[in-house]
């Protein structure tokens, strides 16, 4: 019986904690498409490809653990150039690390919600364009995360 009483106390404490958050909410999410958290330098977001530096060695496609990177060959270009499939990419950054020419680069853009599956596959031509964030393009307010002693995480207008 004492065990039940002890657990009853714990139940009350859980409910009290819940009530505390209900009346003093501590929201840490942001209204995403209208607001946008600015990502830090060196963030491993979408990858950008610089074709002029690439020596078409194929190492990036070989190292990719998720088989997201693939060499696109054509009749005239037998060695091929890399393209990426964001349905599969896990943003590990191996491809960027292994590239001997620094022809791949991670960007700060990480908006990976797409309208269709096909849009997530980028052949070399598209892969070499600067990735754009639809939220930023749509005029989202930029926020930056700040550490708060009391609340934990807070977001401030930049």
């Amino acid at each position: 019986m004492s065990r039940q009483l002890a657990s009853f106390k714990l139940h009350l404490r859980a409910v009290a904690t819940g009530l505390k958050y209900l009346f003093l909410p501590n929201r840490i999410t942001v209204y995403y498409p209208e607001e946008y958290i600015e990502l830090p330098e060196g963030y491993r977001g979408l990858i950008r490809y610089y074709p002029d530096r690439c020596i078409q060695c194929g190492l990036c496609a070989m190292i990719c653990p998720a088989s997201a990177m693939k060499m696109y060959r054509t009749k005239t270009d037998r060695k091929g150039r890399p393209g990426i499939n964001y349905q599969r990419c896990i943003f590990c950054g191996f491809c960027v690390d292994i590239c001997p020419q620094n022809a791949l680069e991670t960007t700060k853009v990480h908006d990976v919600a797409y309208k269709s599956l096909e849009e997530m596959i980028l052949p070399p031509e598209k892969f070499s364009q600067e990735p754009i964030s639809p939220a930023v393009a749509g005029g989202a307010r930029k926020l930056k995360p700040v550490f708060d002693e009391e609340r934990g995480l807070r977001h401030e207008r930049v």
């Binding site: 859980a14 009530l19 958050y21 209900l22 909410p25 999410t29 209204y31």
Partner: protein, 340 residues
Amino acid sequence: MDVAGVLPWVLRLLLSPQVFAPVVFPGLATALVVLLTVIWAERKIAARVQMRVGPLYVTRRLGGVLQMLADGTRYMFQEFIIPVTADRVPFLFAPILALTLAIIPFAFIPSAPGFSPIKSPYSLPAALAAISAIPLSVLLMGWASNNKFAIQGAVREAFMGLAYEAVVFISALSMGVLYGTLDLEEAVARQWLPGIVLNPVAAFTFFVGMVMSAGRLPFDIVEGEQEIVAGPFVEYSGIIFGIGMGLAYLKLYSLSLLYTLLFLSGWEPLVAPLYSVYPGIAGIFLFVKAYLLMLFVAFLRSVYGRYRLDQALRAGWRVFLPLSLISLLISVVVKVVGCV
């Protein structure tokens, strides 16, 4: 009867307690509004506690309150699939039966003194009987679906139904003993103190039984989304799935009304001016109390995780059934000592 005579006749019919209480307030029409707002409130409350925003984009100015209407509309236009292996007639019949059984209690719930749809000395057990018959139709759903998950869910429903309806019944009975009546209207009249003060143990066990047997998130052991997909409702799609989802809330609504009548002194304090205008709407406090109670139950979703079936059953039989028997004892003592 001429045309001019028809209108007052219809109005009189509509305003008679036999029609107004079950159909308009606190019955069907109100239940629908309650359903839409409570589900929204539940999602908002859970979001607040979990540091999120919750539904927002449907009617953004009002905080997304019409989200459930949008969801309901979506259900309405979804294809309703009947599996080839399902038992067609019971498959279609069971949800209708469930909905009917969920509505029947409103025929016994009085909303103001002298305003019961069916005035009966046994209105409390009658309402409870209808509510606790819902698991039978859920069993039928599971059986007719002819699907392993559905059968498992149905068996769970049977287990949970037995364990917690017993608790609800005994706690309700102990209040019946305390008030010396099984008539809900009388029970309110005889509460010189709210029942929750007279017998807190019964109030507690009835509450737990209510939360568990209503089977709403996260006490949806029967559906167990992550374990058995949706239990008895797995084969249902479209609007019938929506009904299955609403069923838990409908059940919770009628149980909350009963709880308010039994433990929170029902419609007291009665709003006299409203009563003199029309007795049907004088039960506004009954509704407010029941609604707040529902909101509290909805809030519990953000505090608890889902219990395992065996944990829930163990608690039901080992803790809450004995507790409810104790509450019966307390009632007898209070009655004999002569406070009432």
